[in-house]
C-alpha cells in the first residue's frame, strides 16, 4: 500500500488538474446558492419536498445521481473485473423496478399525502411501532450499507489517485456536501444533482473512450478478457501454496448475464426474481428514492423522470463494468492479483484487489487535466449520493422519530432539528470510516447487495402487500417485519462472524447457513414474510374500508372521505395547549423578541429561516393550496399516453440489451 501510494503521490499537482477541480467546485457551489435563493426552504414542504414543484428532468437526474455513488464506480468496475458482465444485471434490473415506482407506488404515496415512508405505513396501518421500527431500520441500513460503502470507495479512489490524507479529504468532502444539504434542502439538492449527473456522465464517457482505445475497441475487449490472468500464481504462504487455476482464470461465462442456476456466482433466477425483490425495497419503498419522486410537479412529470432515470441506468454497463474488465486486461498483475501477500502489497487487502480497477485506469490512462475531471466525477458521485442520504435520513429522523419524542414541536424547531441531525450523521460517518477501512473490502458491490438481501425483503413484502392487499392489517405487518428480521439476522450474523472468505482461503461457514446464494435467500425470505403477514392478517380483524381510501392501489381514485388512523397525531401540533394549561398560556405571552444580532441574522438567512415565521399559522398560501391539489393524481390523457409509450419503448430497449448479453 505504501509503495502504491508513493508512486502515485504526485499525480494531481499540475495546474490543469487543479483548475478543473476548482472550476467544478465553483460550479456546484454556484448552482447550490442559486437554487437556495430561488426556492422556498422555510417550510416543511419546501425544505423536505422542494415545494413539490420539480419538473421531469431534475427528478430523473436526481434519481440517477442519488443512486449512483462512488461505490458504483469502484464496486461495479471491480466486480466486472473479477467476474465479467453479469454484475450489470443489477443495474438493468433496476430500470424495470423504477418504472414500477412511477406507475404503481408513486400514485398511492401522492394520494396518501405523506412525506416519509414510515409515515405512510402509519397512515395505512395505524399504531406507532411499525413506523418506529422502519425508521430505525432505514437509518441503520443507511449507515451500514450506503454511507460506509460510499465513503470507503471514495477513500480507495483518493488513496490510489492522490495519496492524500484520507481523513482530511473525507472531512473536506463531507463539509462541502453538508453546506448545501443543511442550507438548501431538497430543491438545492436536486438542482445540484442535475449538475452532478452531467459531470458523472461526461467524465465517465471520456474515460470509457480512452479505455476502449487502449484495449483495441469493443472486439479487443472480448478477445483479450479471457486471457487476462496474473502471472504470480504461487503463494509463499505454505498453507496456500500453489493456487488452483479456477481462482485466477476469468470465468468461462464472463460474457453472459444469465448464468447457471446452481453452480455459478450469479444464478439467473436469483438475478431476475431475487434481485427484483431487493430492488423493490431500494427503489419503491426507500426514503432516499421516493422522496425525489414526491418532489415532482405532478404524476406525469414523476413518470417521465422515472423513464429518464431508466435510460440513464442503461449506461453503467458501458461506463463502469466494461472499463473495469479492460482494467483487468491492461493490468492483470495488479487488478487480478490472487496470492494474498501480493494483493496485500498492491492494495492493502488480502482477499483481492479488483476494487482498484477503476481508479487504476484513471491514474494510468488519463492525461493532465482529465485526471482532475475524473476526480471531480468521483467527488460528484460521492457527494450527490451522500447528500441524498443525509437529507433523507434527516427527513426520517425529524418527521418520524423526533415528532414522536416531542409531539408539540413547531415547524421551526423541526427544521432546526433536521439540520442538526445532518451534522450528527456526518460525525457518525467519520467515526465509522476506520472500521470500514479496516474491514476486508473484497468485492464491494456484493457486500452491499448481501446485507440488503438479508434485511430488505420483509420490508418490501410489507409495502407490496400494504399497497395491493387491503385485507392486511397492523399485527400482520408488524409480526411479518419482526419474523423477517429474525430470519435475516439468522443468516447475516453467522456469515459475517465466519467471514466471507475468498477463493484462495474459503470461509469456514457451514453450508447450512452460507451455502445458499444470497439472492436465493432473499426470495425465500420474501415468501416467508408474505406468508407470515397474510396468515396473521387473516386471523385478526380487518381494517375498515373507511380508513383506507386513497391508501391502497385499488382505492387510489376513491373520492370518499378518509378517516385517518393517525388522526391524534395530526391534531397534536394544531392544539398545543390542552385544557388545564390555558391559564399558563396567557402568562407565557412574551413580548416580541428583540431584533437578533447581525451574526444571528446571517445564520438564519443561511439556513433559510428568515421572512415570515413559518411556525405561525398563516393562511394557506397559493403554494400550499397547490400542494393540496397535488394529492390528486389525474393526468392529461394525451401526455399520459405519451409517457406510457415512452416507458414501453424504454423497456423494449432494455429487453433487447438483456437478450444481447444473455
Amino acid at each position: 500500500m505504501e509503495q502504491s501510494a508513493a508512486d502515485s503521490r504526485n499525480f494531481i499537482d499540475n495546474t490543469a488538474d487543479l483548475i478543473v477541480i476548482a472550476g467544478y467546485f465553483l460550479l456546484v457551489i454556484g448552482v447550490g446558492l442559486w437554487s437556495m435563493c430561488r426556492t422556498n426552504r422555510g417550510t416543511i414542504g419546501g425544505y423536505f419536498l422542494a415545494g413539490r414543484s420539480m419538473i421531469w428532468w431534475p427528478v430523473g437526474a436526481s434519481l440517477f445521481a442519488s443512486n449512483i455513488g462512488s461505490g458504483h464506480f469502484v464496486g461495479l468496475a471491480g466486480t466486472g473485473a473479477a467476474s465479467g458482465l453479469a454484475v450489470a444485471g443489477f443495474e438493468w434490473n433496476a430500470l424495470f423496478v423504477v418504472l414500477l415506482l412511477g406507475w404503481l407506488f408513486a400514485p398511492v404515496y401522492l394520494t396518501a399525502g405523506v412525506i416519509t415512508m414510515p409515515q405512510y405505513l402509519r397512515k395505512r396501518f395505524g399504531g406507532h411501532r411499525i413506523r418506529l421500527y422502519l425508521s430505525v431500520l432505514s437509518l441503520f441500513l443507511y449507515i451500514f450499507t450506503k454511507i460506509s460503502v460510499d465513503l470507503f470507495s471514495g477513500a480507495v479512489f483518493i488513496q490510489q489517485a492522490l495519496g492524500w490524507n484520507i481523513y482530511a479529504s473525507v472531512i473536506a468532502l463531507l463539509g462541502i456536501t453538508m453546506i448545501y444539504t443543511v442550507t438548501g434542502g431538497l430543491a438545492a439538492l436536486m438542482y445540484t444533482d442535475t449538475i452532478q449527473t452531467s459531470v458523472i456522465l461526461g467524465g465517465a464517457f471520456i474515460l470509457m473512450g480512452y479505455a476502449f482505445n487502449e484495449v483495441g475497441g469493443y472486439t479487443g475487449l472480448f478477445n483479450k478478457y479471457l486471457e487476462a490472468k496474473t502471472t504470480q500464481t504461487f503463494s509463499e504462504d505454505p498453507i496456500v501454496g500453489n493456487i488452483s487455476p479456477s481462482c485466477y482464470q476469468p470465468r468461462a461465462d464472463s460474457f453472459h448475464l444469465l448464468r447457471d442456476p446452481v453452480t455459478s456466482d450469479l444464478p439467473w433466477p436469483a438475478l431476475l426474481v431475487g434481485l427484483t425483490i431487493v430492488s423493490g425495497w431500494y427503489w419503491c419503498s426507500d426514503q432516499v428514492i421516493v422522496q425525489r419522486c414526491l418532489a415532482g410537479k405532478n404524476l406525469t412529470h414523476i413518470k417521465a423522470g422515472c423513464i429518464l432515470c431508466g435510460y440513464l441506468k442503461l449506461l453503467p454497463m458501458f461506463l463502469m463494468v466494461m472499463p473495469g474488465m479492460i482494467s483487468r486486461i491492461l493490468f492483470p498483475d495488479k487488478v487480478a492479483c490472487v496470492a494474498p501477500e501480493v494483493c496485500k502489497q498492491v492494495c492493502g487487502t488480502e482477499v483481492g484487489c479488483s476494487n482498484i480497477a477503476y481508479p487504476l485506469l484513471v491514474v494510468k490512462l488519463m492525461p493532465n487535466g482529465l485526471r482532475g475531471l475524473m476526480l471531480a466525477v468521483m467527488l460528484a458521485a460521492l457527494m450527490s449520493s451522500l447528500a441524498s442520504i443525509f437529507n433523507s435520513s434527516s427527513t426520517l429522523f425529524t418527521m418520524d422519530i423526533y415528532t414522536r419524542l416531542r409531539p408539540r414541536a413547531g415547524d421551526k424547531e423541526l427544521l432546526l432539528v433536521g439540520r442538526l441531525w445532518v451534522l450528527f450523521t456526518v460525525a457518525v460517518s467519520i467515526a465509522w470510516l476506520p472500521v470500514v477501512q479496516a474491514a476486508q473490502g473484497g468485492q464491494l458491490f456484493d457486500y452491499i447487495q448481501a446485507v440488503s438481501s438479508y434485511l430488505a425483503p420483509p420490508v418490501s413484502a410489507v409495502f407490496i402487500l400494504a399497497l395491493f392487499v387491503p385485507r392486511v392489517n397492523e399485527p400482520g405487518a408488524f409480526w411479518g417485519l419482526i419474523g423477517g428480521l429474525l430470519m435475516g439476522l439468522a443468516r447475516l450474523i453467522p456469515e459475517f462472524s465466519f467471514g466471507t472468505g475468498s477463493c484462495v482461503r474459503p470461509s469456514s461457514c457451514p453450508g447450512l447457513f452460507c451455502g445458499v446464494h444470497y439472492l436465493y435467500f432473499a426470495i425465500v425470505l420474501f415468501i416467508c414474510s408474505c406468508i407470515l403477514i397474510l396468515t396473521i392478517s387473516f386471523c385478526t380483524t380487518p381494517i375498515p374500508q373507511k380508513h383506507l381510501h386513497r391508501l391502497v392501489f385499488s382505492l387510489r381514485h376513491s373520492e370518499e372521505e378518509r378517516e385517518d388512523l393517525d388522526v391524534d397525531e395530526q391534531q397534536g401540533p394544531l392544539f398545543p395547549v390542552q385544557n388545564g394549561q390555558l391559564e399558563h398560556a396567557v402568562e407565557m405571552d412574551e413580548p416580541p423578541p428583540a431584533t437578533p444580532g447581525l451574526f444571528h441574522r446571517c445564520l438564519l438567512w443561511f439556513c433559510g429561516m428568515t421572512g415570515s415565521d413559518p411556525s405561525s399559522s398563516s393562511p394557506p398560501t397559493a403554494e400550499e393550496t397547490r400542494a393540496q391539489q397535488l394529492e390528486d393524481i389525474t393526468e392529461d390523457p394525451h401526455w399520459a399516453r405519451f409517457v406510457n409509450l415512452n416507458a414501453l419503448f424504454m423497456m423494449a430497449v432494455a429487453v433487447f440489451l438483456w437478450g444481447f448479453y444473455a
Binding site: T219, F222, N223, Y225, L226, F255, H256, L258, L648, M651, A652, V655, F656, L657, W658, G659, F660, Y661, A662
Partner: protein
C-alpha cells in the same frame, strides 16, 4: 515491396473475426436480443388485449325489456308481461333475503305505474 502487406491484408480479410461473445446455443447475440424484444412485445400485446376485453369496468346495467308473449301473438294466459333485467338489482345489501322497493317501470315509455 507492397506484396507482403497485400498478402497480409488478404489473409486478415479471409480470416474469420474472432467472436468470443457467443450466444446461448447457436444464436448470434443480436438475434437473441431481437427474439427477446419480440417475446416482450407479444407479452405486452397479450396483456393489453386482456386488459382491454376483460378488465375494463362494466358499463352501468341498461334496462333491457323483453316482451314475452305480446297481445298480437294470441292470448297466452299468464305469460303476458314484461321482464326487466333490472329486477336483478332489487336485492338489498342489508340482508340476503331483503329487496329494495324500486319503481322500474317509470323509465319505460308507455307504461304507467305507481310504486307499490
Amino acid at each position: 515491396m507492397e506484396t507482403p502487406e497485400l498478402v497480409l491484408l488478404c489473409l486478415l480479410m479471409a480470416a474469420e473475426p474472432v467472436t468470443c461473445q457467443q450466444g446461448l446455443g447457436n444464436l448470434e447475440p443480436w438475434m437473441q436480443g431481437l427474439i427477446a424484444v419480440a417475446v416482450f412485445l407479444a407479452l405486452v400485446a397479450i396483456a393489453f388485449a386482456v386488459n382491454h376485453f376483460w378488465c375494463q369496468e362494466d358499463p352501468e346495467p341498461v334496462t333491457t325489456v323483453l316482451s314475452v308473449g305480446a297481445k298480437s301473438d294470441g292470448n297466452l294466459a299468464g305469460v303476458d308481461g314484461k321482464y326487466s333485467t333490472m329486477a336483478l338489482n332489487f336485492r338489498s345489501s342489508e340482508h340476503k333475503n331483503a329487496y329494495e322497493n324500486e319503481n322500474v317501470m317509470e323509465d319505460i315509455p308507455g307504461v304507467r305505474s305507481t310504486p307499490m
